[in-house]
Symmetry: C3
Subunit: 321 residues, 3 copies
Amino acid sequence: MKLEQSYTVAQIAELIGAKVIGDSSVLITHLNEIHKVCKGSLIFLDNEKYASQAIYSSASAILVNKEMECPANKALLLVENPFEKYNDLALMFRPKSFLQGQISPTAQLGEGTVIAYGAIIGNHVKIGKRCVIHANTVILDYTVIGDDVEIYPNTTLGSDAFYYHVNPDKSYDPWHSIGRVVVEDQVRIGAGCTIDRGVSGDTVIGLGTKIDNQVHVGHGVVIGKHCLIAAQTGIAGKTTIQDYVTIYGQVGISKGLVIGEGAIIFAQTGVSKSIPGGGKKYLGSPAADAIQTFKELAAIRRLPEMMKKWDKMIDQSEDKE
Amino acid sequence: MKLEQSYTVAQIAELIGAKVIGDSSVLITHLNEIHKVCKGSLIFLDNEKYASQAIYSSASAILVNKEMECPANKALLLVENPFEKYNDLALMFRPKSFLQGQISPTAQLGEGTVIAYGAIIGNHVKIGKRCVIHANTVILDYTVIGDDVEIYPNTTLGSDAFYYHVNPDKSYDPWHSIGRVVVEDQVRIGAGCTIDRGVSGDTVIGLGTKIDNQVHVGHGVVIGKHCLIAAQTGIAGKTTIQDYVTIYGQVGISKGLVIGEGAIIFAQTGVSKSIPGGGKKYLGSPAADAIQTFKELAAIRRLPEMMKKWDKMIDQSEDKE
Amino acid sequence: MKLEQSYTVAQIAELIGAKVIGDSSVLITHLNEIHKVCKGSLIFLDNEKYASQAIYSSASAILVNKEMECPANKALLLVENPFEKYNDLALMFRPKSFLQGQISPTAQLGEGTVIAYGAIIGNHVKIGKRCVIHANTVILDYTVIGDDVEIYPNTTLGSDAFYYHVNPDKSYDPWHSIGRVVVEDQVRIGAGCTIDRGVSGDTVIGLGTKIDNQVHVGHGVVIGKHCLIAAQTGIAGKTTIQDYVTIYGQVGISKGLVIGEGAIIFAQTGVSKSIPGGGKKYLGSPAADAIQTFKELAAIRRLPEMMKKWDKMIDQSEDKE
């Protein structure tokens, strides 16, 4: 999330009671997770595994829970519980807010846009021109929608990421999601869909993409332009779907993958690894090249008969022994 | 869709600026897609593959984009883009409309019917007697519901078909859906369901059929009487489910199929071809006779062990060579 | 369901016009189904298969449709159609009711709890402290929610069980559901979820459990504490999920099962039998130990090639004959 203004590390340290190691005059402009940072990012580190990735990333400041050396032009903010302090900052910079009416007075609606009865438009939402937001759809805070977008009833945009921090006692603490949902021009989103906001970045639905009913799009997913996504498909957090991808019904796609431009994924397929596009077709759970899967399915169909012959052969060979 | 009055081909031609080939006095009473036509139907043709099917169908008039011969008692309407003109007519005869209140003044509600707080009843909707429409359910325009029907919260009836015309630049144009959702007596539809209207015909849920939560029913699907459909099942467009079919949870059924009377489809099955009924049971993705699938599953369970033996045998036979 | 006061068997018999066999002074305090009874329970019996289970259960009274011997300290209530009379009593003791406003005046809301615009809170609902019920979520009658619970938009709690009595003509009669949904402290339920009430008992979501979007939880399901359930998973009626279970996306779990404490179920898995926990991992449809399933998947990948070799060998051995 880009902050509305920049802060020095010293200012941030005062807000959360942290000790600064390194350059306390460094400017902080973003609150980010470790997997997507830039100059100006403040991130947190509470897992030693990611220590060197964090320290040598382009992030300008890192919340840490033990003393360590700090490279030049950066700062470490020493606190007892870095995750908790990150969450505290997220809540300070983007407090939770709840609607008191159907359409927030802070929402901006373009010319010719229709908000049907019962649709709810949250705080700081921007919607472009000639859009239709159907009855009982809920557009939560900070969502950005382009022109000529149609969203069907009972759909939710901008729910928080399903993303938890595991405590030592195996209970879960939620991250306070501060990302957004961004929907580009000419997109259609069906009825009963759920599109989560990013944890700290954006969930994006690209130009002209058409999404059927009951589709779930996880936090931080980026979908390219002119994709087709059929009903009841689910896409887990931070996955990228490139342009012109076709996804049939009830497909599941795991988190953090890349689906190549022009890929075609058949119904009920479960994609667990990144896959190239270029018109390639995928089928099966786990997904494989559809031609390979069809061969396997044909072989499986013959398998019971084959097992019988095999057992007979084994019996005969044992008889001979 | 049946038009509210009939028009001559000449009148239609004037509305969209078409040149008439054939009999311009022929009467048009329906706007249809090629797969379901009758005398009086106006359809469109923009794919040469379907030319003879279209011309020799019972349709009375066809929007075409090049000159061709016209049989007797029919008319061709020559335009540059038949799909676009079909869509223009669909919009003329059934303009998009959006609700300005919870219950449209044009809706008809039978005696004893309860519309819970937050449920939304669109324009020209008809609902029979003793129905319960639960909170926050959305019934869109032209839906017809019989007697003694119960529909649970957050369900959507009458959303537009997920049905697109692919442009040469691989972007998608929506068809303007003008069909309806028709729900017969004693039907129950669970919470969080989505039932799309037909593109030009009706989506039908037959007498006494019970549908669980989060079920998706695509455009133009026809479901018979006394079916049971469990949660999170999806049925793609134009499929027919005959009477007394039982469908377990998370089943997917492809478009345009026929599921025979009394068929039983087990959970998570993916049906990709039409299947006979008569009490037959189906399992697997793709679906097969459940007995066959159980045999395959048993054989697969033994496969890793068998592969080991097989590899050993191959090794031994290679050792001998 | 626990009744608000106790009744003698004689009083119940008068309400429904039943003939009493046995002790008509026995007190009735609960209306139950046969699978979960206690002293004070009234149940019904219309399937001879369950006759001895019913009669020798701890239930205090049983609706029956033929004369039989009654043990001491119990009563049989003889009627023509026990199921119908059970349903009549259920309706008498818990009549259907529909909201006339957004928040029922009979609902109890704890301090600091936020009900967003468009969320609907039914009759006799209890919600604890510091909860957030997001826009357009529907909480139906008698639901009980603890402290610090967050429920996202367009979710439904307390819809009726998908549970039917099959008539001789193969039509279906619904049971009137009189159970509740009980949500313990610190639970999160995502957007677009559906949680059914129990038929006569409670559906329970345990302490600290986190549920993602579009999850379906059937009637009478009991989920333990600190479970994680990812998007689009469905759990059928009366299943028990013990503590610390992790369920990935699009998993299906059949009815009446027990998922052991700490079990991990991978995406798209279909669980058809009870499975032990203790950190064990499951994959496949039907579910198996993930290590076994991975071996099978590896073997299947080699199967087409192996079939070719096998066919060649068969050919050669036939050539020799």
